[in-house]
Amino acid sequence: MADGMKLSRESLQAALRKRGPLWAPNDAGHWATVEALPELGPIRPRRPVKDLFTPPRREIALWKAGARPAEIEAALPDETPGSVFGVRPCDARALLLLDRAFLQAPYVDPHYKARRDSLLLIGVACQPGPNCYCGVFGFGPDDKDAVDVMLTPEADGFIAQAGSLRGQAFLATVPAGAAVPVTAPRPGPRPEWWTGLPDPKALYANFDHPIWRELGTSCMNCGVCTQYCPTCQCFTVDDESFKGEIQRLRIVDNCQRSDFTRMAGGHNPRQVAASRLRQRVMHKFSYMPTQNPGLVGCTGCGRCVELCPLDRHLFADVFEIMKRINQEAERVA
């Protein structure tokens, strides 16, 4: 078992401050620059850390008032070295999925890449809450696979473990206390009734199952689940004009909106609510694992469960879908 090292809060903070801006969740649970390491809540903050990498709104280009149309000013990626403190494993793992979307040649998003390259991810182990389900995906609250450094809080500081070579190099710069043995990773929580992830192919084979409509009737497609999801990647491109100035923006979007797929001329392949709920479940639990074996489009952060105004439970839905599908398969067999 690899050793961890004891770090005092002060020495860690000094080393992080030396790197550049320090990002952490603020009191509202949003990611902001801070002067000192904040006290964190027991679980993930309200907003996923993806906000720093694929922000809800970012400028692509700007046409200044009075500029000729060909004078396009490109927005520049932020390459300032810095650190993010308080990243939870569920949010960090979600970045691995977003990497598949935004770092894949030939269309690399330079803004996303600049932040991924320049921000050190400092994870802090959490105390899972009632809607946390990372165990469903085979990792736990102190998982260090997707962060540079994982910290386990102690009374007078942290026990730090490197999760990457970059993290190892950073830890070498921090004045450390004694090396301490590290216990085995803690298992993640999952629903007691959970029987396992669905087979992506079985889910896809039931694209036309009546259960989608049954479930869809109690979803109002508000899209909160996708807006807070750490793995959701969808965006739109639009212009905003103000006093002669035109901004080309990349703005977060979500598949639960009724006009997400409405085409010019009115045709909309996902006209009904059920088809959009199906799209969300299929994308995360069938299409993503099919395209990227071993990766599921969910990391069990549970924000969608916690924030749904109609108390829908993604895992209960997926469980119910698979239960029905399996029962019917057994009946036929």
């Binding site: 280009a61 927005a75 979307a101 269309y107 896809y204 491109v237 080309r248 085409m263 996902r270």
Partner: protein, 276 residues
Amino acid sequence: MLRDPLLPLPARISERIDETADTVTFHFELLDESERKAFRYLPGQFAEISAFGEGESTFVIAGDPARPERLTVTTKRVGAHTEALHHLYAGAIIGFRGPYGKAFPVAEWKGKDIVIAGGGIGLAPLKPIICHVLNQRAEYGKLTIVYGARSPGDLMYAADREIWAKAPSTELVVTVDKGDANWKGREGFVPAVLRATAPKAENAVAITCGPPIMIKLTLPVFKDLGFPAESIFTTLEMKMKCGLGQCGRCNIGPFYVCKDGPVFSVAQLQQLPQEF
């Protein structure tokens, strides 16, 4: 530094052609000389075009791929963005990103007869195929083009059609749903006219694009004529924003239409969920 793939390149409109009451073709050139000289595209690839201040929309590049410096899109006025585009004339600057998507596999079609069935503005993605076949006339067999529109006033590409009508080993059949007093040509829907034209399926490929209902009724005609699903191609219309396989909008099954399409064979389409 990496270039943001969402950043448009400025391009200047060189010519505007009003095709019908609501459809305009723009020819344009990239302003940057090195970009213009390096630019290439293949039949069926598309681009994101912007009228600055109104965002972007997706259009197939409807030009001659052998003349990639002269870019072309044909646009129908259906919303705020196309409305803004239709206020632009020669000399105006637009934004361009592309080319995106998989092209029609024209290289694999060498030696075969080519059968094209287009309806309305659906002729736009088919035009680069026609240009390509006529550019390399000896490489392909007979070219049959069945093109239809609602009325004589809805037919587009008049100048191109004159050239196609005189091209060697090419049969151009033009039809309208309903003619007017001056119309001396054929009347009838594309699927029926295609059936009557009866191109042979042996050693041939079929390509169709048009309104969804036309495509729906044309595919069984190709099947009846003996074309296997692997030899029938179409290009999917699906809402897109980025063209890069990132924005999530055109996701159907495990595919992104912008990246894995928009060109699909009917055999490939049969593997997709029937969502539209």
